[in-house]
Each structure stands twice: as structure tokens, then as C-alpha cells.
Subunit: 227 residues, 2 copies
């Protein structure tokens, strides 16, 4: 049986855990091969200082059965304004069995035209952008609509990956991976969603620059529409 | 005020999420600078295919206020049998405010002599190794004993990082990071610890090679003792 090809698209300044959370899970799914795909073979910067060396480029990546697009802050705007990146995602999505994203990677899927008429999610601070790419926001950590699976912010990519692992290889395989990475989360605090965080924490986080980012995304979407 | 220096030690074949989970959290702690430190400046392999480009080498890394050693499978044995790696960890730990590990990174701390007489934890399949480096296993996801904080397997590094973030910058800062990465975990299955997984899942995971790994760790510890 040919291997089930999983591919992660990486681009400069992506949010590291958007990518590595699901990668850690999906790379352990039996019968799959994982590809880390970038525009060129050069190391790609992350938001955490560490550089990432891809295994494939857009040019030599095989057809993918599952494509996953992680998010990031302003790096995502550059990615969805880059014709090669959007074209690669669109082309691979045509034949992929699953088209997926984590965090604001959803907006890249959207610019590629892959969320039109779909229910989807993204990072909580960016959900207002979903209608701009034709999607309807569904408030959940993982949203599946047909073959499109989108995850909310950053760490939700791990929960998404277990959903995807079970789709690909069955629930027993997914549960075995969960035990292997000891995924029995116990956050010491309970501020992980805007509904649970205090208004003071929420204001502090928004003040860190989400308004500015949202403006940059909106301007980027206008720019992308003209490409 | 000088920056609080956080350093992650990376080595070939480390488990990616052991490193990137806490890195994603700790790199957002206000007033800190994050360093990714390897033996040489060359990219370091991970267990997931993606290569990792460090920011520093053992030779040019500044004194660290928090050192974090991630784990992995057999890569850890090579790391704790490598004199330069163990010596770097031991030297940095002497002046660090916090000495920390994720998963089997604890065994590297142990070989460096940093767990003697301490309560500690590691990946559930490797806890029997802790007494071999002078530590007492405490069954918890995150164990703090004095300035030594150890996390259990892989994904527990994220919970550890929030504990550490609160220690460094206070609970409000940690909660803001939690909201930023939307860390409100909702695993679709409940098999993340050996107490919760079914006997069948547990047997399947152990059959994947933990026995062999444990033997390699034991042999490695004998080898390291002779270095």
C-alpha cells in the first residue's frame, strides 16, 4: 500500500507550535510519511528564534493526502500575498483527501479559495476575518466541514491532530500516540480562551498588538485580491 | 535590568514537542531572551524530519538563568554519553536560577549530577531510570524540588512552561501567554496517561519498543559512568 503523504507548509515567521504540535502527532501515524515543505530549501525562520530546515520545496513535494497550513502573526500576511505559496496550497488541495489549517493558517486556505461556503475556525482574535474569505466562523477548537478541518489558535493544533490521526488510522492508533506523548494536559491556570480569561487578561493580550495585526491582515487581503 | 536568559539545549534526534512546546511559551515571557543552544552551529535533527537551526553553540552561549533540557528516544543516550553536552549542562546549571527538563531530558540532568537527592519526573515509560541517577520519582506532570523543575512526557513540557513562566514573570503574565496561544486543551480522547489508557493501548505502545529503549538507556548510563 502506498504511504499516506502528510505535508506541512512552512513560511517565514510562522508560529512554531502551530506547526510542531500537529507534526509531533501526525508523524507518528502508522502508514504515513511526513513532508515539511517550503518555498525553497533554505532554513525558514519561526517566531521563537529557532530556524526550521524543510525536507521538500514546493517544486519537489509529492502529491499530498493531507495538507496542513500553520499560522503565525504577520508572516501569514506575507505568505498569503505570495503567489507561489497560495498556488502551491491550491494545487495540492485539489487532490488532497484532507485540507487543514491551524490558527491563522486558515486565512491562507481562505485566500486560496478553499474555505468558500465552509464552516471554519481560526485564532480567537482573528475570527472576524473568516467571512472575508467566504467562510462562516464556528466557535470550536476543531471544526470539520467535509474534507476541510481547521483548528483554533496555536495549541489547538494538537487537538486537531488527534482528530485527524483517528480519521487516517483509526481511534486506537490515535489513542496510542496520545499515550506516547503523554497528552493528558493539566494547565496550571485556566485562561486559555477568551470566555475563560478575565477581562483584564484579555485587554492586556489585545493591547499587545492584535488590533494592528488585524489591520495588516485586512490590508493584505485587499492586496492578495489584486494579485 | 539585564534580560533573563532562557536556554534550550538541543541535540540530534530530540523529540520535537519536548523542545518547541515550552519554547513557544517561554519565548513570550516579558523581560526574557531565549537561546537555542547546540554543540555546533549546524542544523540539528529532530524525531519529526524537520531540522532545527540553533542560535548559539555551547562555546558562545551566555550564562543562562533557566536551562531546559528536552528529551527524546535514543538521541538522549548519545547526548548523555557526550562529555561536552553533559559538561555544558553541568556548568550552566551551577549559576542558573532554574534547572529544568522535559521527558527523558531528566536523564541528561541526572548524568550531569543535578538530580541527586531530588524529587523528579520523566516520561512514564522511563521513570524506573530516575533512581539510577540518584532521584526519587514523584508521580506528577510537573515536579518542582528547589530550583529543579522536571516535566513528564513530551506534551507535559507545555504545562511545565506555564509554571516556569509564572515563576519568572508572575501569574498574570503566564495567563496572558495562555490566552495568546489559546491553551484550553480539549483532547478528543482520554488516553494520555498510563492510568487512563486501556491495557490494550498500553500494551500496544510498550510493544513499539520502550523495552528496547530502556535497555539502551541502562547500557548508556553504565557507559556514561565510565567517562
Amino acid at each position: 500500500m502506498p504511504s499516506f503523504n502528510i505535508g506541512f507548509v512552512i513560511f517565514p515567521d510562522l508560529t512554531l507550535l502551530d506547526f510542531t504540535g500537529p507534526l509531533q502527532v501526525l508523524s507518528r501515524v502508522p502508514g504515513t510519511t511526513t513532508h515539511i515543505v517550503a518555498k525553497s530549501a533554505a532554513p525558514v525562520s519561526s517566531d521563537c528564534g529557532v530556524g526550521l530546515v524543510p525536507t521538500h520545496t514546493f517544486a519537489n513535494c509529492p502529491p499530498l493526502d493531507l495538507i496542513c497550513v500553520p499560522g503565525g502573526n504577520l508572516g501569514v500576511v506575507d505568505a498569503f500575498c505570495d503567489r507561489d505559496t497560495v498556488e502551491f496550497v491550491r494545487r495540492q488541495a485539489r487532490s488532497a483527501k484532507y485540507v487543514t489549517s491551524v490558527c491563522t493558517g486558515a486565512i491562507i486556505l481562505g485566500v486560496a479559495g478553499l474555505l468558500k461556503g465552509r464552516r471554519a475556525t481560526t485564532h480567537w482574535a482573528f475570527v472576524d476575518l473568516l467571512p472575508l474569505v467566504g467562510a462562516t466562523h464556528e466557535k470550536a477548537r476543531v471544526v470539520q466541514d467535509g474534507n476541510v478541518i481547521t483548528a483554533a489558535g496555536v495549541s489547538s493544533g494538537i487537538d486537531f491532530a488527534f482528530t485527524a490521526a483517528a480519521e487516517i488510522a483509526g481511534e486506537a492508533a490515535a489513542r496510542a500516540i496520545q499515550l506516547g506523548i503523554e497528552y493528558d494536559p493539566a494547565p496550571p491556570f485556566d485562561s486559555g480562551s477568551p470566555d475563560k480569561a478575565s477581562p483584564a487578561i484579555k485587554s492586556a493580550v489585545i493591547a499587545q498588538g492584535y488590533d494592528k495585526s488585524l489591520s495588516a491582515y485586512r490590508a493584505g487581503l485587499e492586496r492578495a485580491a489584486r494579485l
